[in-house]
Amino acid sequence: MANSAPDLRRELLDAIGVADPEQLFEQIPADHRLRGALTLPPALRSEVELERHLRTLLARNGSAESHLSFLGRGVWPHHVPAICDELAQRTEFVTSEWGTPASDHGRNQAWFEFASQLGELLELDFVGLPVYSWGCALGHAVRMAARITGRRRVLVPADLDPERRAVLRTYCEPPETRSHLTIELVAVDAETGGLDLADLERRLGDDVAAVYFETPTSLGAIEGRAAEIAALARGRGAETIAGVDPLSLGVLAPPSSYGADIAVGSTQPLGIHMNCGGGTGGFIATRDEERYARQYPTLQVSIAPTRVPGEHGFAMALFEQSSYGRREEGNDWTGNSVYLWAVVNAAYMALLGPQGFRDLGELILQRCHYAARRLGALDGVRIRYPHAFKELVVDFSGSGRTVAAINAALLERGIFGGSDLSTDHPELGQSALYCVTEVHAQEDIDRLADALQEVLAR
């Protein structure tokens, strides 16, 4: 600490005119003071010791580098381009604060480029700065829909990811509160993994604020009837909220094209490491209409002119409707989020460009398909849905083994098997969700298939 040098400390105290720094704490009454001494672990003052300690601790982790991992389900293993790491570690961005539009110009532009490029992927004109996660984005989107429609019932897929669903439940508030929203599950078509449209129609009513669906779904199935879902919702005056994986948008049609009103999803696939779950981020996007724009709880950056004609500047748009501007009268709330990631996301999208998104999407589709072929050919193994993007439901029920036992055996072979679905989705029996992306080469999938064959044959 720069002012801890004894002479300097004394200089400061002299300028203030106090002898003992304790005097500066005079506002704190004696009976508020700490009882007893603080017992904290001893200081590791030297970077040498400190880093050694941290490294030693972290060395106890396995990772997607030490193991072959097929875990996904909300946090996905993707290749992070080296440029993304450089920017994520660049001190100017890392230490960035709230300055003036000029002193933060570069970062503000990067944020605008985050929103702009995401807007191109989604073909939506209004994009806010990211919120904490996909689940949080969904929670806010549902609340936006409720405010827009004045309705309180929300339909979501029955197979919605349990983490996301738990967050949504929190955002929808318990029945005792006035502003409670009711979440209702819509059945899933057991064949395609998409929404069961008959069930959706049954549940739709004039009290439904929003219909939420995903493509790919939480279990990796590509929704083939998105336009029909949106049309049904619109027919009953409900908002359509689509959850999408931005990485899929090089091959899958953008949400605007099938009539989604609000799009949400995760920003983690766009160049952010998994970080043990600390890489999550969520986006919210809509058409650029006041009906939607006025309901955003987020901050958003607008391009704006400067005193010099032709020069671009950036400023926070619609700040006054945020909780910063209106406290409890604002839309939901906002605060620090994952804005550093937004800079990284922007660079990621710029690196990929239209062709990169297309190639990557196609590769993931093909790899998934190959994995489905290899695993589906194993005795007692069945692949659930025919059209999968990035995640695959692998049903081991026919093998007589539990996913837990299989995964334990895979772990011995240095493999993290797919996420066990048997607790959260009993209807799928002993199924696991295998994540396959651009980081999984054919040899990895083959290694998995061979290991599974061995495990299942035991």
């Binding site: 600490m1 720094p21 508020h32 200081a43 875990l71 946090v75 738990a166 091959v251 970080n275 043990c276």
Partner: protein, 500 residues
């Protein structure tokens, strides 16, 4: 740099990223892998750039971002040095490439860090358990609001307990999250001593009170000496008390939230515990609570048994999740690292230096003609930060605090934070040096402010039209709340520009 928006750059056919080619066995007809009609028709109108162009573009933007490259006495956030070693350690694949759903035996390192850091926060606060799921200070406040719901619901009182009490100087997030969780918000005004009177609190408390959510000291550096009585009054009425420790630096190592009676508290690991601000996250609002609220905490909790660490997902009364998974684990590692580097002695020294620096700054700031201090009648030394007013300067010169902000950056120092809504003090500024900034830096910063104030008298036009030597000139934000002008995306901008 005169840097175009990225969508204006590049040339068709240029590539910045090449996906691996599918292996021959993997290759398949993509259309056959998709349900009919879901294929994207027109490619997204993204820019087409080489890797080098992308790198250079964003490095230019980095260079046009001041961050902590200047001198940034940014109040209400306690800017700290973000030790580079923490960035290096958390970038290691043993953390960056870890999936939160891995088998527990492959998560021992990260679980142990979380567990150890939780113990540290328990010691600092006196609370029973902590969670790190909330993605920021506001999310921790929201967590408290949700736990308040669950707590009262578990006692069958939620329908009755509809009110959350806060104060006008508590961060807006307490009020906003309480409202978003379904509560009515009662906001107490300041009393003559710079904090709300105990009477005003008692008048507000009733059997409808669900919780008190309050920060202390506030961001004028005023500590409420009656806070224990407040907590008692709320507890008597059956409400819960939440301590927003955003301004922890000034009381760090001197008080414990639990010993003051609070049921819960939160720390901002990304600021107070030296995690970087990142322009606004990734962040962690560490939320801690006393034993009676533990059942309601979001899950999972990290548990230690015989030196092995595990995740406890079991919580029938838990509020569930406020965010997926466990939160921004790297930020927890950074915070743990910071505390370990300092130890108890170091934390106390940080608190001391922080308050010393603030009072030194005050001494010098008040020497600038036209700078006044909030609640000047309060003689006691302020903690950590103080709010000042430049009202006199504005009256004499017409130059307001925004103009002064814009001009200060011309000198390579970052502008001060002004205040949160509502602006109780006219023309406010809230600088805060913390333990980070050296005397030389503080002096330079104050000299710049003094020079700009002087300039406001001598050449107000120069100040009003600032900045003059930055990447861009003064932004005209007058249109950003107008639907015909705002544009949060380039596509919206192009459309509106064409329409205009």
């Amino acid at each position: 740099w005169d840097e175009p928006v990225v969508l204006e750059l590049g040339r068709p056919g240029r590539r910045g990223f090449l996906a691996p080619e599918p292996e021959p066995d993997v290759r398949a007809d993509v259309d056959a892998l998709l349900p009919p009609g879901v294929r994207r028709e027109a490619p997204p109108a993204l820019p087409e750039l080489s890797e080098f162009e992308v790198q250079r573009h964003y490095l230019h933007l980095a260079q046009m971002t001041l961050g902590m490259m200047g001198i940034n006495l940014f109040g209400t956030c306690t800017m700290k040095y973000n030790p580079r070693v923490n960035e290096r350690v958390t970038a290691r694949p043993e953390l960056a490439e870890v999936h939160p759903g891995q088998p527990e035996e492959t998560l021992q390192g990260v679980l142990e860090v979380v567990h150890r850091f939780e113990r540290i926060l328990r010691e600092l606060s006196g609370m029973e358990r902590f969670v790190f799921q909330p993605g920021g200070g506001a999310d921790a406040a929201y967590t408290h609001a949700c736990i308040t719901r669950a707590y009262h619901a578990s006692r069958g009182e939620l329908e009755r307990r509809t009110e959350v009490i806060t104060t006008i100087q508590t961060h807006p997030c307490s009020a906003a999250t309480a409202a978003a969780a379904g509560f009515d918000v009662i906001t107490l005004p300041l009393g003559p001593d710079g904090y709300p009177t105990l009477e005003s609190l008692k008048a507000a408390v009733s059997d409808r009170t669900a919780a008190l959510m309050v920060g202390n000291p506030d961001d004028m550096g005023i500590y409420n000496p009656e806070i224990k009585q407040w907590v008692e009054a709320v507890h008597e009425a059956g409400g819960l008390c939440f301590y927003d420790h955003a301004n922890f630096n000034g009381v760090m190592t001197r008080i414990r939230a639990r010993e003051l009676g609070f049921d819960a508290c939160m720390y901002m690991l990304h600021k107070t515990f030296a995690g970087p601000k990142g322009g606004g996250g990734p962040a962690v609002g560490a939320y801690g609570c006393a034993e009676h609220l533990v059942p309601f905490l979001p899950r999972p909790l990290v548990e230690e048994r015989d030196g092995r660490y595990g995740l406890d997902h079991d919580g029938p009364q838990s509020i569930g999740r406020v965010r997926e998974y466990w939160g921004n684990v790297p930020v927890v590692v950074k915070a743990y690292s910071w505390v370990r580097a300092l130890g108890a002695e170091g934390l106390r020294q940080a608190a001391d230096l922080s308050v010393i620096a603030n009072n030194y700054m005050e001494t010098r700031l008040l020497e600038i003609p036209g700078v006044t201090k909030s609640h000047p009648q309060i003689a006691a030394h302020r903690l950590e930060m103080t709010r000042y007013s430049l009202e006199q300067v504005t009256e004499e010169t017409g130059i307001d605090v925004h103009d002064i902000q814009n001009r200060m950056v011309d000198y390579g120092v970052d502008a001060p934070w002004l205040a949160h809504e509502p602006w109780l003090i006219p023309q406010p500024i809230t600088p805060e040096p913390g333990e980070l900034w050296s005397k030389e830096d503080i002096d330079t910063w104050i000299d710049v402010l003094a020079a700009v104030v002087q300039e406001a008298h001598d050449d107000p036009e120069r100040v009003r039209t600032a900045p003059h030597n930055q990447a861009i000139h003064q932004v005209d934000a007058s249109g950003v709340d107008d639907p015909d002008q705002w544009a949060t995306t380039w596509r919206a901008h192009l459309r509106k520009r064409a329409a205009a």
